[in-house]
Symmetry: C2
Subunit: 336 residues, 2 copies
């Protein structure tokens, strides 16, 4: 079944049939209808591989991320796929397990598949490779995580703003000793959330107390240890801001284990929402970093770069999606 068969069936020239089926708009409605009807009758299906060689567009976008199970990554993957599909692009899914070598291999593979663009929630350790990909004319959009020198463009959560909102909310409730459980300073989220926390304390005329700040890896087990380090002090904090999402999964069961009542004994805000935080007893007040909006903005920016074509350059800028405080039931005034 060839394009010529469709053209003959429709009674138009091969070039008219080709233009209709490649989506050109300057065709009479009558010719378009006849070609589409003929293609449907004959079960004609354009060969995308041949089309890609001609158009130099594969209509494929790579999505490289850590995992689909934790955090809001699966929500992001779902929304990104939908938004790209709305514009006729499909997603090649690549799960790295936060392994930089696997990430590099996927990025090479995506370039071989000649994807039209790449969205990467990255390890930050393949900057040179990302630069090469951008040099080959493939736009790169770093999402949520981004090394400072990464090429292309970035869409990031406003982590500093979110941390400020969380800390301010605890201050407004009357807390003065606010424990901070965060990620390492090398991670942009770890750095920026700490800055937001510190800025809110400063605005309230307080100083960061080093003993109330615990930083560690993005692991559940770190959350347990960090909680113990804070609560076993004589001058334990009356409120906790858990800025390390994975650590929250250690902090919450450990609070229950220790018989610490939230918010009576200690108030709590976690950064990044997951579905079951609203089912926790008490429901957890969170900073929602806007997974849907992050994915929408990423789709929008990578499509804009793709559609400018290989000559067009990306801005080199980071766009930020603002954070939102979602008040539930885990914050109260400190005990007198």
């Amino acid at each position: 079944m060839t394009l010529l068969d469709v053209a003959q069936e429709a009674g138009v020239s091969r070039s008219t049939a080709s233009r209709v089926l490649s989506g050109a708009t300057s065709i009479s409605a009558d010719a378009r209808d006849r070609v589409e009807a003929a293609a449907a009758r004959l079960g004609y299906r354009p060969n995308r591989a041949a089309q890609s060689l001609r158009t130099r567009r594969t209509r494929l976008v790579g999505l490289v991320l850590n995992n689909l199970v934790n955090a809001s990554f699966h929500a992001i993957a779902e929304v990104l796929q939908q938004r790209l599909d709305d514009r006729g692009y499909q997603v090649i899914l690549c799960v790295t397990g936060a392994d930089e070598d696997r990430e590099a291999r996927y990025l090479e593979m995506l370039a071989e598949h000649q994807v039209d663009g790449v969205v990467v929630i990255g390890t930050g350790r393949n900057v040179a490779l990302l630069e090469r990909i951008v040099d080959e004319g493939i736009p790169v959009l770093s999402l949520i995580r981004c090394a400072p020198e990464a090429p292309g463009e970035a869409v990031l959560a406003d982590d500093s703003d979110g941390a400020y909102l969380a800390t301010e909310h605890l201050l407004d409730a009357g807390h003065r000793r606010i424990g901070y459980i965060g990620g390492p300073l090398e991670a942009n989220s770890g750095r920026e959330r700490f800055h937001g926390y510190a800025a809110a304390l400063t605005s309230a005329g307080l100083q960061v107390v080093d003993d109330l700040v615990v930083r560690g890896p993005f692991l559940e087990s770190f959350g347990e240890k960090a909680l113990a380090a804070l609560l076993d002090r004589d001058d334990a904090p009356t409120a906790l801001y858990v800025a390390n999402h994975e650590a929250a999964f250690g902090v919450l069961p450990e609070l229950r284990e220790r018989g610490v009542s939230v918010p009576d004994d200690v108030s709590l805000i976690c950064h990044e929402d997951v579905s079951w935080f609203r089912y926790w007893q008490p429901a957890i007040t969170v900073i929602d970093n806007g997974a849907t909006e992050l994915a929408e903005l990423a789709a929008n920016r990578v499509l804009a770069a793709i559609e400018r074509g290989p000559g067009g350059t990306q801005s080199g800028r980071a766009m930020r999606v603002g954070a939102r405080l979602v008040q539930r039931a885990s914050v109260a005034r400190p005990r007198a």
Copy 2:
């Protein structure tokens, strides 16, 4: 940068270079090393679109599913992607929102992209289209959900067995009035889980009591209603088997809302695990349907069909992954 450049740099023929880079195994280790080193030195990247036209393999597999947010779909997507990648295949992700028209559009698109295979957690309402795709030489693997007349092959959870295990566990704990909250009989999971429930009752010398069986759509809101219908009876059940996964998200908060104590007032088993069921108070006893094993088996079967090539036919069979009972704290003996 062409294949000929790589061959010259490596000091081998163009055909040897081509065979090494396309992964042929019958090449001397020495030649292979030289070609791979030359390709790396020159930054040679094979053009996959040109390669696909030659080999008639795109090394792409479509994954069509409802969503990435609920149930174990994101775990399945992650494991499937990893297993396919291990064998050099990448996943094009298509999220249908359980909409049959969107599903049809994705299936057409995947055929246009000439994917080497399709894995579909489907609506069951595009059987004719799936048949056409199989006729075009693209293997189709139905995962978890499958219309009886679907072509290709299927990998399914052993829903009947899982339901039997759940019901038997409640019977063993001494329950005789066991409420059933399930999906519609038109869904294979709804039908098979009900059969397993009925079979376990029969084995224990009991009969299905129609008033203890509530079936409805895969929605949280149905769970609330079904719970009310069962608990508001004079002869309310002493145990519940929630076979409808989405309904469980309505049942659990509603039990808490009503002040019903689990397992003191009522015992509970849910079918299909999610991460936070172990954090619920009490932790929920579940039937784990084996998301990882389902994905592994699906990858294995679709790869086998792809590698048999376009002449090879699929078995038309359904493979089943056995269920497992995971005991936590939501089942106890009924009150005397």
